[in-house]
Symmetry: D3
């Protein structure tokens, strides 16, 4: 079933995508009902990046980065690469040359359930990566995978064109069709949180703001 | 046995607590006989923080952060939150709203054998956290735990009111009753180390300063 | 077989060593046929360091750092300490006092398949360490190991005098006798990559630069 | 999005399901193009079981097994329970009482990316489980999940009604619509392997049977 | 603080201990409010053992089994050894000679958050061990630890004389003073479960037996 | 540097190899100075096997088992296959067809720092494997590795022709040239242990047999 490249992929609206980036991973994850979070083993190679982009997906054999070259041709401005190996692997599929090429195509970053290398150069270039490992191990170009097929990356299903949101908290995927609705909920959540934040900063307690005392007592909480 | 909140907790003297922060984790751990170190999986979310505070402990069910709200009410100026889940969990129990609330109560930081989120905001606020994971996964508020009961956090027993010392090396707990004595030993150790440091910097060898050559030879060390 | 200190160790030429540092881990690893990479669990304690040095090796019992003192006497200007425990261990074998001593002997850094502590001080001193863990756990001085014997460190065989290259990507070992030849290949590789980088930055695709389209089609890649 | 129970699920033909059980995980995985394998962390609680069944899926909060009771009502003869927690968890969601209930409904086994307990009783009952952990930790019944929705379990997408194949090698999922075709390929593969097995047992080499020598030589393999 | 051997340890009543063994880990853990479970990384070296015994505790340095010899002298008939290393370690602290010695003192088994070896012999002798690892790595006898002091073993506090219950599900500790009460609750639980088991085996659903339907509906569960 | 097959390999004497099998891993490891032990992650796929054999080594790319076919041709009666992937991998490199072929060549077993599959068949055939994982993931035949070159397998250096000893405790490598001497020491150790075992079984304490009391007291051990 490998060896496929899907060239026509629908994306979400650019302003929706950018809005999701502003909201950030934790808020977006909550706004879509606590779903969509990729496994916590994916960590940023440098702190402070916050992106959203349309997924160009890669299913790649372990230790073989051939399909990354194929995927880069499919990138459009504002996209994010998402690579899932077909079996667990920590090899360094991606480094500064591929990042140079991806950047030239308008790519916003890479999410990879495997390894990455040249992280010093990538940091200097400001090309953000969320990866399972930093590992310099080289890869081969010998076996086909697929590009722009649905993949399970770090435990979460990602379709090409889904919106990937990533920041210091990790990575979240938003199904393309839900993106606008999720953004709306995320913004409502932010407004609500802003009000709460002010009260909490002033010393009010969550116990009172969220009216928890009665329920806690009913559940049997005892103060000693 | 859950569902308890102990409201009266004895703390160590503030100047003792602050002294332990200055000494740092490695020195304090040595000064109390190489005990008290929490497991190395607890890592700071940003480098450079160095705190000590009285433990307000939380025993929480996996994926349920209700007790954090209860614990925040128990915080006094200079305290540190210590959360141990009742079974292994990486969910994000704590984020920027709870940090805002804890800061308003004078909290110095959080030690948690689970996950944390909103780390970009926490970093901006300067609210230090030592956690097992950064993970945006949301939690529920459905089941009771306890506050200010003894907990085993990351392999170490912590009583409420014990002194928590944390820095880039990790986290150490000092029993409240021992805190003053441990501080004294830590300071003696620092004075001793300062002298050694100068000699080592000048090129003298540990083999000579610590008079190890004879013992090594007696044990059978051979130079070839 | 423990209890040995080999005092006469051949090193590679200083300018070869320094050239390998400039090339960096990923390039050196590729230049020697994708070999020599230590396991990815070895991570730098602070970002940005890039060193190469001759290995002074330490085989040490778990939780016992006695041999580090012995090894420091064997250091020459430009060397790197490489410590492999005889069984898996995360204890903090090395801290600021040992770093002070090693620096005074011209040591460029430490590679250790175990733990390190005082990382705040080490960072301030600019003493780079690649370790499996940051852990303050103290060690004893009770059992002999060996210095400057061949060790397997993080899955890779290291002979005393081999060149250790380390940067943000991890750690690579180059056999002393191969160092000059590997450097030459690394430089050729860099020249080649520089040309590729410019073309990729200009928007050319790897698919075309590396002439992959025909081979991919022959393997059966289908565009849909 | 949780709180859903889908009651109408299509299953594959019983004889197809049973045929896939006979073929076993490794053969089925190969027959469908090396796809469908759940992560290797799922291991059987006792050796020797080999089953196939239609998936009744459970998406459950960490440490909460309420939905297992809901799922058991949805079981039909020949089904297999598949539980994916919404965040990583090792708690013991399932023990001998639930197994008794599931067996009474014709359930063939459980695949769970979390923990299981009462394994001595389950072994005695012959109720097979493939789990991430054996752990006695009890769970609560406080929060909703869903039953018979698509889940990602141990890294693989499972739809309700898909065929789950499990044996000592692990667990594989076959999409319901592909089951008959995969079985056909699996059988062809077995026939082909049987012939190979006889030749290999007689001492013929794979190098000759698969005609590899020329290709290896062309790739540059050197005998020394 | 190491170097202590406490010789006077109170034990629970033998018939209480034996009753807890019969109840087994999962039931005992539930009966004492879902507490006391050691981490799931402790696994039996052979299936089928089910023991309970009074804890003789050992705090041992990493890779040093000297204190095991000291502890064996403290064993009384019906005791269980509990070893916690002072830092994470997988070395083989215990093998067939120590098991022979422990058996001669009436020891029922070993719980160790580290490694064990000679597992073939231990299996033949019927000496059960719950360990973190099977690893033949030898240990030294160079540094003191302590015997019969409180230890945290695999995340749980164990006092000397506490009752250790262990079976295929793992290991649970019951504080000595609570042992009789916990046994009573465990037996009540078993009686209750026996009745449930019969009904479930007859095809009744947990949804009905535990009267869950109303609460699930109230929480918002929807059948589609 | 890959793509090499060394066809001439020296082996140890058959009776020495068989003697080492009888001694077993723990004894052999001790007899050669506590060296040679492969990492504890290598576990047998079924209990009770105890073998020794001459290593035929394989260095293989991740997810590529081509070299296993090449290695099988190099097997002689009494050999053991040792496979080290060039980067971490859990794929199932080896199954029942390869085992059939290896058995036909007189192979005694497989040691692999990766995955294996068809374990039910391998168990039935009595073909022992020590592996890092059981995982059905298929592999490709696309890239060269090497056969009978020195490899680091699970952290230990193995030369072709070295003696591999494996049993329920794990795997140990004995350099070919040392094999006879190690066997002699192993036998002396067994004789010595036999005498100790009888005394320990009779209730004598290790504290007395090994004359430890004085040394423990001198180190400061206190009985309370």
């Amino acid at each position: 079933m490998s060896g496929r490249v899907v060239t026509r992929v629908e994306r979400a609206e650019p302003q929706v995508i950018d809005g999701l980036a502003e909201a950030g991973v934790a808020t977006v994850h909550e706004a879509q009902g606590r779903t969509g979070l990729l496994a916590g083993r994916l960590r940023p190679i440098f702190p402070g990046a916050r992106i959203a982009g349309s997924a160009v997906t890669i299913s790649a054999p372990p230790g073989d980065n051939w399909m990354v070259h194929v995927a880069i041709e499919q990138l459009r401005d504002g996209d994010t690469l998402v690579l899932a190996p077909t079996s667990p692997c920590e090899d360094g599929y991606f480094g500064d040359l591929l990042a140079t090429s991806a950047l030239a195509r308008g790519c916003r970053g890479l999410v990879i359930d495997a390894g990455v290398r040249d992280v010093r150069d990538l940091t200097r270039m400001g090309f953000p990566v969320w990866s399972k490992a930093v590992f310099a191990q080289g890869t081969v170009k010998a076996t086909l995978g697929s590009v722009n097929v649905p993949v399970v990356c770090a435990g979460e299903l990602v379709h090409p064109g889904d919106v990937i949101v990533a920041d210091d908290d990790g990575v979240c995927v938003v199904p393309r069709a839900d993106a606008a609705a999720v953004l709306e909920k995320a913004r409502a959540r932010e407004v609500n949180e802003e009000a709460k934040r002010a009260r909490l900063a002033a010393g009010e307690l969550g116990l009172d703001i969220y009216d928890m005392r009665g329920k806690l007592e009913a559940m049997g909480l005892r103060y000693e």
